[in-house]
Subunit: 309 residues, 2 copies
């Protein structure tokens, strides 16, 4: 794949493509082809006081992915960076092993389609997509069987070279807290971010956290960004497939504002990853991978005791 | 299908099967075959104060569904009521038109499998499952193309016969607030409930809201419960496929603790459904279907003004 995705509807400025690698932050890099229309839609609601007023909700639209003219899947997306989403989807589903197999991805919002051209065709596409594992999250997300079976081949960096300090974690969370986001305006979206230390490299929101993480995978794939020294942040739950995707991206440390499921926890333990959940402001729980974490304990809460008399 | 699902691992007491129809509440009816092991798992965590302690997280396990010995899909589930989940999945995906097509559903947790026997086989199963629409929610949930195409044939009750009063909505929310749930103990699960007026008929939690709503669909299907006079409650977002599933179940009113996406909103408008979001305590937003809602406005907030001097 050339360094540039062929964007159908409109070409982004070169600066958006030529995203510098870590450690320069490129928070606005994800957008390649902007979706037609806005990311927000205004609707009229009635509240508990009987008042009619306007609020914003996130827009979403179907994007049907065709690989070498064969329909693969329809993704429901906010549509902020569809080419990266499609590329990341192919990578995370292990339908392509590397970005080099992809010649171009062309998005046409008029027909809601993303056309992927590969150099040599995807071998055994039908076979690879025949087994569906419907996953947690929404409960029925999808990874293809093949992706799960390749887990054992994953290698993450050792605990000495990939670790995180509590102060770095705090700095990261503080950036997420301050961020002006669609979630803040309209709710009902999930955000994902990629950090190098406490430096934000990439932030993306979508209607689902799977689309968001796939978009990050696409960005990493396109620009050849390695995951070993990165931290992945998500507002969503740490289910098995979110953990799996992060592992596939080579990112050993995950931070979530939300909780963890048993299989997400088990998988992270097995892979030697470090998971943080319920992480916001100065709070968090480290679920597993303690050996990657340099704890700098907060002062204990002092119980305020009112003594009578 | 006989009135009784054939439960593999253990048969529930008859009372759990012979669930009375509306308006008698049967909040503990969902469980047919309890999953092996507990619904919660205890793990050791490290918090921001450097303290190690134990917390509970929801357990989840894979359940692979075989229809007439053909592998269909693997669901990740908490496993509280797997037969109802599988039945509801088949119904909501429109793979079976009614419960009568199903002879038995047998769950074996030792191998994590649910074996569905149909009376006559599912016609065109391969064709029906060939087109996947990956939906919102997690972003990549799955409904098969066929389910979406049948939307236009849905008929919901008119606005005079299916409506909700604000006081009923409050009563419903109060019951959800007080409910002792896995979510309260462990977080990271979604709950769904079915109400008749303010009376709770069925409540189920699962790792994903799709599994939870499918379980309710299975319960309704098994017991022949109609949806026209019911209200569906969910902790999850109102995405297009949650709205669609509710419509398929014949339930015209949906209440969510969470928000709405643009396609969920659009679909509900199109189908003439009534959607409430951000609903908790005495707050809510009515997004659409105002004509089904009898507003009983709360007194306006009185601004507290501190007058100097």
């Amino acid at each position: 794949m050339s360094a540039r995705l062929q964007a159908g509807a409109e070409l982004a400025a070169p600066s958006a493509f030529d995203a510098p690698l870590c450690p320069q932050p490129v928070p606005d890099a994800p957008r390649l082809t902007a979706a037609q229309g806005e990311l927000l839609r205004e609707i009229s609601i009635l509240d508990e006081y009987g008042e009619r007023r306007f609020i914003h909700i996130p827009a979403e639209r179907p994007l049907t992915v065709f690989v070498d003219k064969r329909e693969l899947v329809t993704l429901m997306t906010l549509g902020a960076s569809p080419e990266l989403l499609v590329l990341g989807y192919l990578l995370n589903q292990r339908l392509v092993a590397s970005v080099d197999e992809v010649e171009s991805i062309t998005v046409d919002w008029d027909v809601g389609a993303a056309a992927v051209k590969t150099h040599g065709g995807i071998i055994d596409l039908a076979e690879k997509t025949a087994r569906r594992v419907v996953t947690t999250g929404c409960g029925q997300g999808t990874v293809f069987g093949d992706a799960m079976s390749q887990l054992e081949s994953l290698r993450l960096p050792d605990v000495h070279s990939a670790r995180i300090r509590q102060s770095t974690l705090h700095a990261l969370l503080e950036q997420m807290r301050q961020r002006n986001s669609i979630h803040r305006k309209a709710g009902s979206v999930h955000g994902c971010a990629l950090f190098c230390g406490s430096q934000l490299l990439m932030f993306v929101e979508d209607v689902g956290r799977h689309n968001a993480i796939d978009t990050i995978a696409g960005w990493m794939g396109l620009h050849g960004v390695a995951g070993a020294d990165k931290t992945f942040y998500t507002t969503g739950r740490l289910t098995s497939e979110m953990v799996m995707k992060s592992a596939q991206m080579g990112v050993p440390i995950i931070v979530s504002r939300n909780g963890v499921t048993a299989m997400g926890h088990g998988l992270a333990e097995q892979l030697g990853m470090c998971l943080f959940g319920r992480a916001a402001n100065r709070h968090f729980l480290c679920y597993t991978g303690f050996e990657r974490f340099d704890s700098e304990p907060e002062p204990q809460r002092t119980a305020v005791r009112v003594v009578a008399g």
